[in-house]
Assembly symmetry: C2
Homo-oligomer: 381 residues x 2
Amino acid sequence: MRAGIKPSGDLDLALVVSDAPATVAGAFTTNKVAGAPVQLCRPRVAGGRARGVVVSAGIANVATGEAGLRDAERMADAAADAVGVSRAEMLVSSTGLIGPRIPMDRVLPAIGDAAAVLSTDGGEPAARAIMTTDTRPKMSVRHLDLDGRRVTVGGMAKGAGMICPRMAAAQATMLVFITTDAVASKATLAAAIGAHLDTTFNSITVDGCTSTSDTVLLFANGASGADVDGHAGFVDSVGEVMAELAYAVVADGEGASKVIRIRVSGAASDDQARVAAREIANSVLFRAAIWGGDPNWGRVAQALGQAPGLELDPDRLDVTIGGVLLASRGEQTRREDEAAATLEASEVVVEAELGRGSGAWEILTCDLSPDYVRFNADYTT
Amino acid sequence: MRAGIKPSGDLDLALVVSDAPATVAGAFTTNKVAGAPVQLCRPRVAGGRARGVVVSAGIANVATGEAGLRDAERMADAAADAVGVSRAEMLVSSTGLIGPRIPMDRVLPAIGDAAAVLSTDGGEPAARAIMTTDTRPKMSVRHLDLDGRRVTVGGMAKGAGMICPRMAAAQATMLVFITTDAVASKATLAAAIGAHLDTTFNSITVDGCTSTSDTVLLFANGASGADVDGHAGFVDSVGEVMAELAYAVVADGEGASKVIRIRVSGAASDDQARVAAREIANSVLFRAAIWGGDPNWGRVAQALGQAPGLELDPDRLDVTIGGVLLASRGEQTRREDEAAATLEASEVVVEAELGRGSGAWEILTCDLSPDYVRFNADYTT
């Protein structure tokens, strides 16, 4: 629906509802300034049962105090009432500007309008409605067959800026909503999210800014009749949907022209590799170089050198960009322009081998362009 | 001198030499990938005596292995020999690209040429020669009178990008060279740097990238005859020169149009305030907003919410931008455009009061413009 939150007049309200009672699990931002919708959802998701979520875009309902909490609750109540389910089983999620309040006089009627036009093929407009600075909707679907029954796992995501999710399970402005018709316990859903959260959404960054509203929700309503508890294939399918959506968020990062896949190996531990990969991914210097087609391995070394607590022996560092080994044992072995052509691809792989152990991690980010800055200079004005 | 390191053919070599034996103290980068010049200087500075420093710009001599260490030593030796002082008392410092080696065949003759034209009024061309992406030379001078004797403290600095010094004393690609004609022990010099390092150079950031070459050196040759040991006025003068040069580095940050002074107060401790201020200063989202003239306080709140280990109660947060209180106790109290006019000044003050204690810290940064990205996309190519 168009509730009129976005000044553009674009779609800005989505309602996701299960026909049948459903189990739910989720993950939310660890930013200490968590939005009102996140505060409302945490205990409800912990309860493990939900029928749906109402999502608004344009204003995040963050830093809005008690009044904001009431607004979030009124949105959830309006959605629950409109579709005829228990108020305690409706969730709410909002994304957009921090600070202002959501105009209830426009949103509440729009929620009623949305409930009246719920349909099984509304996924694509819903994925558009939750967009803010995104340039395209992001959806993913997987099917698996289980004892002759077909199970579907489908998800949508929004997010392009303020993207550096660091979410804690059972509790990302990345919003991700995944639904399945599997029969699944709350524990199975939580385990499926937990198995993949760190390697998908928590391993992407656009700008190093962890949103106050990051949210992942996974609903299962059992309509397929296939019980997936203890079924690894289901966990894998959820993971594939999560990975595809995480990739799509980075690929649509504000101003981005390419995805940068940062692989750190040879670290003392996986945790050490993650610290290292994240430091490279958050380097504006390195990301600007990649935008410019400059395979500047020295900025990889610089970033590693400042990674907090990283055990690093500069003399053992190998750096490969786009498959071209540029530095071996800490020294440049080839002219950087020999790797420049590889930067024309839509995805660039950057590999740093630390030579200390078997720890490895991969982080996805995107290049940093002047458009990112222009975009974020104009976001509210 | 023009040694021919910079492709532009600009001045790229400076030689600073004291006529008389001098004491020295310094501070160097904590980046684990420290350049060869930094590795050479650390033990020499620890010795407390030096006659000068030869500085080259264009190539940083970082990640160059044993050969790079030999290059650094050859540069220092050439400078010492050319001016006729002990080789152990000559320091070396380099800034520029990470990875390539400095062309010794051009630099060594240029060092000899520089020694032949040393003069007491060479400060300004020296300050130009050490520039890389800087748009202007940075110099500062203070005088104090002591028992009828006039003491001078003068300094020069370079740095515009890869600026987020986190230096450890006695040991930033910010280069700072300060000289004085005071009579001062090594301990006094070290104390003078130590008293101000954290509040000056270690409290500035342009891009959150800690250079592999950051260096501060303070030389005292006693030519004034005034002994400043135990004299607080001297320490203050050194601090004023350090603060002026630190400000100049930020004001000349790559692509910057204004300085952002971030003041955090009401933190549980000064250390907590520093963590908070640094997180705001390193937010590309917030810095882009300031470039765009958008006093986006929500991005201040977002940054605080992700500051590692920060004790934060969002309901107690006040945010003031350009003297306009935009948020009180965690909620927006005024339209952000009421503060927009204040962003037209060359310096913008951003104040965050956390309401938890008496800890306070101030960090200087600059706005993030599309030019920063363009510049760093083109740096090597």
